[in-house]
Structure formats: C-alpha cells, structure tokens
Amino acid sequence: MEDRKRVKRPRGVAQLISGKCIACGARCQSSCPKDAIEMNEKGEPIIIIANCIGCRKCLKVCPVDALEIYLTPEEQKILAELAAQKKVAAVEEAPEVIEEEAALLVKLKEYRGVWVFVEQTAGEPAGVSWELLGVGADLARARKEELCSVVIGDHVEHLCQESFVFGASKAYLIDDPVFRRYLTEPYYKAICYLVRKYKPEIMLVGATGLGRDLAGAVATELQTGLTADCTGLAIDDRGFLLQTRPAFGGNIMATILTEGTRPQMATVRPHVMPLPAKDSSRKGKIVREMVPFQEADIAVKVLEVIDERKAGEVDVAAADIIVSGGRGMRAKENFSLLQELADELGGVVGSSRGAVEAGWMPAERQVGQTGKTVRPKLYIACGISGAIQHLVGMQDSDVIVAINIDKNAPIFEVATYGIVGDVLKIVPSLTQRVKELRAKGVEFMVERH
C-alpha cells in the first residue's frame, strides 16, 4: 500500500509565467474545473494553489502559453525517478484527458473533404465563392481529400460546372423554386441536411452579408465552431484547420482552432484570397439532392425584392487601380481631381471613413475595417492619415502610393512610394504626367482575370 502511494505521479500546479498574459478575457478561469483561478483587476489569473489539481485545462485554453505547470524540486525528483523506471513519461496528461481525446479522434475521422458554399443571386455567382475554391484546393491537397462545391438555388445547375472550372471535383446540388430568393431558413436547412448526410471536414463561406447570416445559422444548428473573416487558412501538423483572423481592428492577429466539433467552419471576405486559375477542360461529378423540408414550414415570407445595384455603380473591391481620398482633400469638389487621375489610369475613386463622414463620398466607396477590403495592383492614398482601421482594408495592395502633407503620417509606413506635400498640387501634376505618357501610347488599363 505504502509503496503504491509513493509511485503516484505528481501533477504539480499551474502557475503564471510573468509578463506573458494578454488579459484575453479569463479563458483560464472559465476552463478551471476546481475554481482554482481568480482574476486580478488587470485581468490576469491568480492561481489558488490549494484548489489546483494540475489538470492542465487552463494551459490548453491559454492563447499565448502564459501558464505552465510548477513542480517542486521533490516532485521533479519523483518524476525523474519514475521516468527512469519507465513507469510514466516525464510529461504526461492526466489519464482522463487522454481517453477523452482518443474518443474524439474517432468521431472526427468520419468527417472528410473541403466544401465551399457557392453564393448566388438569381443564378449569378458571387466572386468570393470562386476565390474560396482556390484556398479550398490548397486545404484539400494538404488533407489529401476532395474539394466540393455546394450549389443551392433555382435554375443553378450551370454553377456546378463553373465550380469545376475553378477547381471543385464534386458539386452537391439542390435545385428548386423554393430557393429562388434568399431566406435564411430554407438555405440553412438545406445545408445542414447535406452536412449531416455527407459529413465534410471543412466548410468555407464568403463573408458577405448573406454568407455571414447563413454561416451563423448553420454553425448554431450543427453546434460547431465558426470563425468569421479569416485572412489566412492552413492545415496544422495534426490536420486541423488553422484559421487566422484580425481582431481589434487588425491590431492583433488571432489563430483559431475548432478542435472538438466538425465541420470546421470559416468565412472569408471578398478579395482577401486570390482567384484561382480557370481550367475550362475540367469536369466533375454532380450529386443531386431533394429539398429536405416542407415549403409551408418557412416562417418568413418575401414580399418584394428590389435590385438596388444602380447601373454603373462602382465596386471599389473589384478594381485594379484605386485612387482614394481622405479628409486631407479638404472639400467635396476636390474629389474631381481624384476622378480625373482615376479616369486616366482606368481606375476608380475610393475613400477613407473620414471623407465619408464629411459627406464627400458615399459609404459604398469606403475602404477599411467597416468598409471594403481591397487588394488592387495600385492604391493611391491622397490625404489619408492611415489609421489602423483604414490600413487593414488596403495594406495588401501590390503597390501603395501615399500623398500626405505630414511626414509622420502612419500611411507612409505601408507605402511603396510616399510623397510629402500638398495633395491638391501633386495630384494634378501626376494626372498631367500620366496624360502625357498616354499620348505617347503607354496604356495603363489592367484587365482583371
């Protein structure tokens, strides 16, 4: 009896590594099964050693590895002896944790393949769906699984073939008049039905208004994890989806995992991922399914749909060249200077929130966290200070030109070319120069694929 007790493996207690906690919001405290963690007013944990059983749950949930297990010298000695006797490995999980994980892995193995939801309105696809097939193909390759598209709508079969051209090898299709106009309920029910039947491991949805609405409903019904607005997607060495997204207006980047549930769901904003190459010779398999519910059960009814896309309305997110203006433009009239430059270059005029709030530009032209994300070949920022909320929307542009009178403006930190000076003088000179070049036959218009 005595003997056995002495061999018991010491687990130690959790302790905070000083200076590492980022006050993430008390995840460690919430995960503790023994109420062994209190938070101080800075939002950092205080471990109540008397209650801690060394279960490591807090270590696992900490996003910055700010917690470790503390072992007294005696405990370390016992561990070393045990390890020498090969009774236990030096760092070992509590047995119940290992069991939990093994059972989980069996459950997760049933889910296979990468799915991309093909968003469409009246049969017209949203470009973000094809962008997602590009990153989806990389993920599918890393998992050695197939890439599938999910097409739901009325008269939308042509989108299956289009998805093959962009890289899918299979398309799940539910084609029925009930899906003529978007409503959350029929769409999410159809997707949940497909997911339960075919069990995909990963599901990607565009972070458009419709996509966010739909993905939230699907994830709730399936009780699985959903990460919004990912800017990076990759597979880790355990085969899990690493979902990286900006938080706090892009000031921090968080990598998120969905470990215990499937599918792993993520949304990605338009123009964040590059469009994959088209291959018109590619074919795939269409899997047809029936509507899995009664139309009469749908609670919300559509009374009317108005197409609000005004003819010729500018979509800054789709442009290859953007000339953007901020509060430094001084007045609404001065935006005509930007329009002239944009016209010469074959680009469009964008704006900061400062200029939108001043009433100089309509909200749909706004670039940034609460506006559009853009990644054009050329972004010219005129009289824009470069607040972080603006930068997150445009810093992936290939070339950035910044014109600002203040040499310390943060926009210069992301600029390829910076000009310190008065935008109202510089822009007309630049336009003039471009005009001259065009007269010589240089063409700036860039075709988008």
């Binding site: 980022i22 993430c24 995840r27 405290q29 919430s30 938070m39 996003p63 910055v64 409503l183 959350t184 309920e185 609405d213 939230g216 409903a217 994830a219 709730t220 019904e221 009780q223 994890g225 959903l226 919004a228 706090f248 207006g249 000031n251 921090i252 980047m253 968080a254 998120i256 995992l257 969905t258 470990e259 609670a299 919300v300 009374l303 108005i306 197409d307 609000e308 896309r309 309305e313 609460t370 070949k377 050329l378 930068l391 950035i400 030109v401 040499k407 930190e413 992301v414 070319y417 910076g418 000009i419 310190v420 000179s429 630049l430 120069r433 471009v434 070049l437 240089v442 700036f444 860039v446």
Partner: protein
C-alpha cells in the same frame, strides 16, 4: 409588445493601446461604450414601445463593469436591464455567447421581438444575433434598414448584396438592424439620474440553471479556441519617401511604376 435588446459593452476602439513587443492588448487604457450598432437596436425597440406600448428589456453578458452600459440603456428608455455575469461565462465564442443569452431570454419568459445590432465593432462577426434566433428556434431577419409593426406581423426591409428584400414575419422574430434604421436618441439628463439608481439584475450560472446548460457556456461551451495571438509589427515596406523632389517623385511613379503595371 415585449421587446428584448441584447447589447454589448465594447472598448472605445480609438483608445485601446497595443504593445507590439509584449504582445499585449491594454484594454484598461480605453474607455468603454455601448457597441454603436446596438444603439440603433435599442432606439428601434423604444420607438416600437412608444407607438404600440409594451416594454423593453436590455440584456448584456460581460464583466461587472458592463453594468454601466446597461444603465446607459435604461437612461435611453429601456425598462429593465439584466447583466449576465459569471466566471463560467468568460472566454465564450459566438456560439457559447448566443447560447447563454438565449438561455437568459427564455428565463425572461414570453417575448415578441428581439432586436440586435448588425455586428459589434470589436468582434465584428455579425453572428451572435442570427445564432440567438437559432437557439430559440425562431425566425430572424438580418440587416434590417426599415421596419413597420402592424398588428400580427412585422414587415421589414433587409439589405443584402445590393438587393433590398421586403419581408414579412409573424412574432416572435429576431431582427438585426443596420445603422440606417434610425438615429439613436441621447439619454436625457433626468433619465440619467434615475438610471443611476435603477436596479440592474445580475444573473450567473445559478440564476440560469434550468435554462442554460453550464457545459455549453464560456470556454467549455466554445467549439473554437484561440490557439495563438500575435500583434503584428506594422509592415514596413521600406518605401521611397520623396519630400523636396516632388517632380522627381511624379516622374518616378508615372514613368516606372505605372508602365510596369502592364
């Protein structure tokens, strides 16, 4: 008409400090406010109450200091306020957050309408509203920019992807509203004074027992886990800065760069 407005206290994003070296977010440096989008939700609720009668309950989940945002909501015209505060609610992702709030709404009893802001300025996901509706198994209408309550139904205009859908739903229903739906009022001075003394109910796991399963709240109930957090140092493009040689700059940009774009 019984209306519930879930709202979130967020840091004033212009004041949060980020320490790149230490990888820390210093929230204590920033003031807090009601998520701006939620003010539109609250205003919509109060307008319906003024026209049709009824009452408005504001509900928030967060640390104790979020009580101040609920008092603000009371000062703007909400009738009751509930704060969901418990260490077991901490670290929740959108699924666990919406589950906990849905549990509290069930405890509040029968309701007709839930109105949320379209998204928050800190999390920026726009998921919690639609997720609450799913947990409660009621329909929802997202991105509402105009609405009208008429007798047995609500007619709302919802804007998505360049199209406006006019839709109709019976009650109960959940809406998420955009900032176009109204202009939120400011709290009156007198109301501020009364709100300071008004009672904000605090509910924890004990109060929610029977309405929410604790294993589905907080970190435990969150299928997503933050694996790593980094504060990126600002990308330095090592660009060329022109100061006194503006003509040169224009030549450089126009001649080299622009022709290179082809």
């Amino acid at each position: 008409m019984r209306i519930i407005v879930p709202l979130k206290q967020v840091p004033d994003m212009n004041q949060v400090k980020f320490d790149v070296e230490g990888g820390r977010v210093d929230r204590s440096s920033a003031g807090v406010e009601i998520n701006p989008f939620d003010l539109h939700a609250l205003e919509a609720a109060i307008q319906i109450k003024e026209n049709k009668g009824g009452n408005v309950t504001a509900i928030s989940m967060g640390p104790r200091r979020a009580e101040s945002s609920l008092r603000d909501a009371l000062a703007r015209g909400a009738d009751n306020a509930v704060l969901l505060e418990d260490r077991k609610f901490a670290g929740a992702d959108t699924l666990a957050t919406s589950y906990t709030i849905a549990g509290a709404i069930q405890k509040l009893g029968a309701f007709d309408l839930i109105i949320c802001g379209e998204k928050t300025v800190d999390g920026d996901t726009g998921q919690v509203g639609p997720e609450i509706a799913e947990h409660l198994n009621i329909p929802h209408i997202a991105y509402v920019s105009w609405l009208e309550v008429s007798g047995e139904t609500i007619v709302a205009r919802c804007e998505m992807g360049g199209r406006a859908y006019t839709v109709e739903s019976a009650f109960p229903v959940l809406l998420t509203v955009t900032k176009d739906v109204n202009v939120p009022r400011l709290p009156g001075f007198r109301n501020k004074i009364t709100a300071r003394k008004a009672a904000v109910e605090i509910w924890g796991t004990r109060e929610l027992s029977g309405f929410a399963d604790i294993s589905r709240c907080g970190v435990r109930g969150s299928p997503t886990r933050v694996h790593r957090v980094i504060i990126p140092s600002e990308e330095n493009r090592k660009g060329m800065i022109f100061r006194n040689t503006i003509d040169e700059a224009i030549a450089e940009i126009a001649d080299n760069l622009l022709s290179r774009l082809n």
